[in-house]
């Protein structure tokens, strides 16, 4: 009995120290961002530069665009960095966000097996390429997770006037996962998939997959940064969030973005 009480006391002291240790008082913000930016190593490149200037720590939660917006609606992020302009503008219009800025851009690409069964290499644009995939019933793997890339893909199918994809079970599949997991599956199953360029460049399990079509005219991928509504979310760290967005949009921040390279390729471009 006595021994047990000593034990409990010891554990409690331990817990006390550990918990007080956990909650550091450094000024920090939570950034809800897309996996595509995080997976490329963008944040581990750019955030130390920001922290040097402001000593604000940025905690990046990397999820799909749809999930990031949902989390931000719940007030679980101080700043939003995603790549689906319409949803972002809707987010501001609905009163969750206060302002949206264009941050940077790159493009989506169509990746697939080198042997290219649907011969999309020769397509004039992405719509033609999707038509070819559809005609050939070539395997296509969709994200299916309401992410920015997924929404972009659905828009292309729509534009190409191919509907009712959900019943096309023998060639159209949904992974329901992030970009990386989807790429892993596409590589395994020799399927086509739409991918953002930064994830593809930094992806290491390319195997026999390659970029088959780039269509910079129709496949522009805009990243936006959205400040949250201060009246709606009074408890968030708005000053920290403003500092980060101002820094990223400043001359210094923008040239830092331009300077981010993986495998000697520039990942993001600014206006």
């Amino acid at each position: 009995m006595k021994r047990y009480l000593y034990f409990v006391f010891g554990i409690s002291v331990l817990l006390y120290f550990v918990f007080t240790n956990i909650d550091d008082e450094q000024d920090h913000i939570i950034l809800q961002a897309t996996t595509s930016t995080d997976n490329s190593g963008f944040f581990s490149y750019i955030l130390p530069l920001f922290e040097q200037d402001t000593s604000i720590r940025v905690d990046v939660v990397a999820v799909g665009t749809g999930q990031a917006i949902k989390n931000a609606k719940n007030g679980d992020g101080d700043l939003l960095l995603v790549h689906e302009k319409e949803l972002e503008e809707q987010f501001v219009a609905d009163g969750y966000g206060s302002k949206r800025f264009d941050l940077m851009f790159n493009d989506f690409i169509l990746v697939g097996p080198v042997d290219d069964p649907a011969n999309v290499r020769d397509a004039d644009n992405i719509y033609k390429a999707f038509e070819k995939i559809h005609q050939k019933r070539a395997k296509f793997l969709s994200r299916g997770d309401n992410s920015g890339t997924h929404i972009k893909e659905l828009k292309i199918w729509n534009e190409a006037e191919i509907y009712n994809l959900s019943i096309e079970q023998e060639w159209y599949f949904e992974s329901g996962s992030g970009m990386g997991a989807t790429l892993n599956m596409a590589v395994q199953n020799s399927a086509y998939t739409l991918c953002d360029r930064s994830t593809w460049i930094s992806f290491k399990n390319k195997s026999n997959h390659t970029i088959l079509l780039a269509d910079t005219k129709n496949l522009i991928n805009n990243y936006g940064i959205v400040l949250l509504n201060e009246d709606k979310y009074p408890k968030l760290n708005h000053s920290g969030a403003r500092k980060l967005s101002e820094w990223l949009l400043s001359k210094k921040g923008q040239s830092a973005i331009e300077g981010f390279k993986v495998n000697n390729q520039q990942m993001f471009f600014t206006q």
């Binding site: 047990y4 409990v8 956990i22 944040f43 990046v60 990397a62 719940n74 007030g75 892993n184």
Partner: protein, 234 residues
């Protein structure tokens, strides 16, 4: 097979050079899971024993509930804790989402039913042996619980390890409530998940190997402890 060799070499290199980022992740994994296990055991052990010793209305239902909760999918726990701690949720004011405390809460919820259910089984068989003696000696129920837990310590250690194993290896819950934030809430399992997502399968596998080595070491320590003098009076 080649990727296994590659992963093994990478794991050894990372460990031997004492890669700072890796050590940070490993240490955080151990810290979170150890604390969850300790808290889970401090709740689960007495709970398991109380269910055995006390007869109260709803006792059978409690047992049923605990046995059911043993199979809780981590993702569901993660989601539940997320909704609880989210700023839009009932405990949003504490600002615990995406912190290590949130991860400890999620893992504790995950392993407490396992610890409670398993310790109930162990304590029950011991109590069948002891019950008449305790009645004869007029041992109060509270004292009986302490005595039973103390005498079952050997089995309880194994149960604690099972809980720890579950905690350190789960990814679904800590991913959601911790957010896999670099240097803050990134643990081994979430790092494995995100490295897999980057297609860096070798690094992910290397991390997996390190995770297994750690579990191996922890179990080895427990075995050594079991054989030590303190436990030999079992």
């Amino acid at each position: 097979m080649q990727s296994f060799t590659e992963a093994f070499n990478l794991a050894s290199t990372l460990l031997l050079e004492g890669n700072k980022e890796l050590l940070e992740i490993v240490f955080l994994s151990l810290k979170i899971s150890t604390l969850s296990t300790v808290i889970g055991c401090m709740i689960g052990f007495p709970l398991g024993a109380i269910i055995v010793v006390y007869r109260f209305p709803g006792r059978r239902f409690t047992i049923l509930m605990i046995n059911t909760l043993m199979g809780l999918p981590p993702v569901v726990v993660g989601l539940g804790v997320y909704l609880l701690l989210s700023n839009a949720g009932p405990m949003g004011n504490f600002k615990l989402l995406y912190t290590q405390i949130a991860m400890i809460i999620a893992q504790t919820i995950l392993i407490t039913p396992i610890v409670a259910a398993l310790s109930r089984q162990v304590v029950e068989s011991l109590y069948e042996e002891y019950e008449e003696l305790f009645n004869s000696l007029l041992i109060t129920k509270a004292s009986a619980i302490f005595a039973l837990l103390w005498d079952a310590r050997y089995s309880l250690l194994t149960i604690g390890l099972a809980g720890f194993g579950r905690a350190i290896s789960e990814v679904g819950a800590v991913m959601i409530v911790g957010g896999n934030i670099a240097h803050v809430t990134r643990v081994m399992t979430t790092a494995i998940a995100s490295e897999t997502a980057k297609g860096d399968l070798a690094l992910a596998l290397a991390l997996g190997m390190i995770l297994i080595s750690i579990t191996f070491l922890v179990n080895g320590c427990a075995m050594w402890l079991r054989a030590s003098k303190y436990f030999s009076n079992e």
